[in-house]
Amino acid sequence: MERNPIRRQLAIMRQSLFDQGHVDEQFVQLEELQDDANPNFVEEVVTLYYRDSARIILNIEQALERKPFDFRKLDAYMHQFKGSSSSIGAKKVKAESTLFRECCKSGNGEGCMRSFQQLKKEYATLRKKFGAYFQLARQAGPVETASRPK
């Protein structure tokens, strides 16, 4: 277990991301790609995700303002969004994306709107959690190669 209190807190935060179902195994894959050459890789990817997906969210919002709904377009946008969310391991967001797409496929406009509201909530919650997590991670600093977790 980590002796350093910041690292211990970091480990706890990380564990809760998994326990609360916010992230899945894919997030671990991201962590495995992080190395000394790229010590902030995970944060970079997550930051890139929020930047890139903001664009798609906006597209969907605009598309939902046009009636009748263009379900094909909405589904196409969500396919993109789901792909990115899946790639970073954003589990709840991904699940909500799937629901949205199902509503698109069945032409359920009300369902789309409800699902999208829920999705934006999860998306925002996760962003906050990631923000706190990476802030603490930066405070914790790089892991010394000599140290071994007890």
Binding site: R14, E32, L33, D36, S147, P149
Partner: protein
């Protein structure tokens, strides 16, 4: 989950030592050097997936070039130049009166560009991964293995269509480090193909290794069945694996890391 970093530092140190011993293999980002590294061209419209794929491949010591569309991929490979007549292409094609379409594309290929594997997303705006696959297989780059990726379980008719179109495999995104072992197999296949052109005795040498590789084939075929993979081509790939020296094999292994501390 325990956060362990110590073991993968050892792996990384060893990798760094290997790199130091081979000075011509300086890791220079984005350069296409005729080095010992395999060069992968990755095509994906998603910036996230490009970043991930690039890192996955680089971590496994491959050279990577990423483009965001099929058109950009064709442009990179010099295949779009067939239509425009820029000075270099037209001068070399006009000098050979018996030029057919394949030699035209040869002359417009970038000087010394080496690509060992092309990985493309299936679902892209504009040119789809399938369209790109067909274009590639009808070009001078047809011998380069192509892997198609998709972010969801596509109907088997689509994955089969890609395989029939010449793709080596249809892989599910997001790709993981463990998926790179399959990619290694396709890269080795491309290496063997280029060796075969030079020296046909390679096949005789590999015959002895086939029996050793049966276990590998079984393990990998199981994991590929639900992806609609053509298992017979995988068999050929694995028989070629041991043609490389063990030194090369070590540097090709994906660097499986322990759980890293997110910093």
């Amino acid at each position: 989950m325990e956060l362990m970093k110590s073991s993968d530092n050892i792996i990384q140190d060893r990798t760094q030592q290997q790199h130091k011993q081979e000075p011509e293999m300086q890791a220079q980002e984005g350069q296409q050097e005729q080095g010992h590294h395999f060069h992968v061209l990755a095509v994906d419209d998603s910036v996230i997936d490009r970043k991930l794929l690039e890192k996955l491949l680089k971590v496994s010591s491959y050279q990577v070039t990423c483009v965001d569309s099929g058109d950009k991929a064709l442009e990179y490979l010099g295949l779009l130049n067939n239509l425009d007549s820029d000075s270099t292409a037209s001068s070399s094609s006009s000098s050979s009166s018996s030029s057919n379409s394949s030699s035209c594309s040869q002359s417009s290929q970038r000087e010394g560009l080496k690509v060992n594997l092309i990985m493309t997303d299936f679902c892209m705006p504009g040119m789809s991964g399938y369209d790109l696959l067909k274009r590639l297989k009808g070009s001078s780059w047809k011998d380069v293995p192509v892997v198609v990726m998709s972010s969801e379980n596509v109907p088997s008719r689509i994955s089969i269509r890609c395989l029939e179109g010449g793709a080596e495999e249809f892989m599910l995104k997001p790709l993981q480090l463990s998926d790179l072992e399959k990619i290694e197999a396709y890269l080795l296949k491309s290496l063997h193909l280029s060796c075969t052109n030079i020296d046909k005795d390679d096949d005789d040498n590999n015959a002895d290794h086939n029996s050793d590789n049966n276990n590998d084939k079984v393990v990998n075929n199981d994991s590929n069945i639900d992806k609609g993979n053509n298992s017979t081509s995988m068999n050929n790939n694995f028989s070629k694996r041991k043609a490389l020296s063990s030194e090369d094999t070590e540097s090709r292994r994906p660097k499986i890391k322990g759980l890293a501390v997110a910093i």
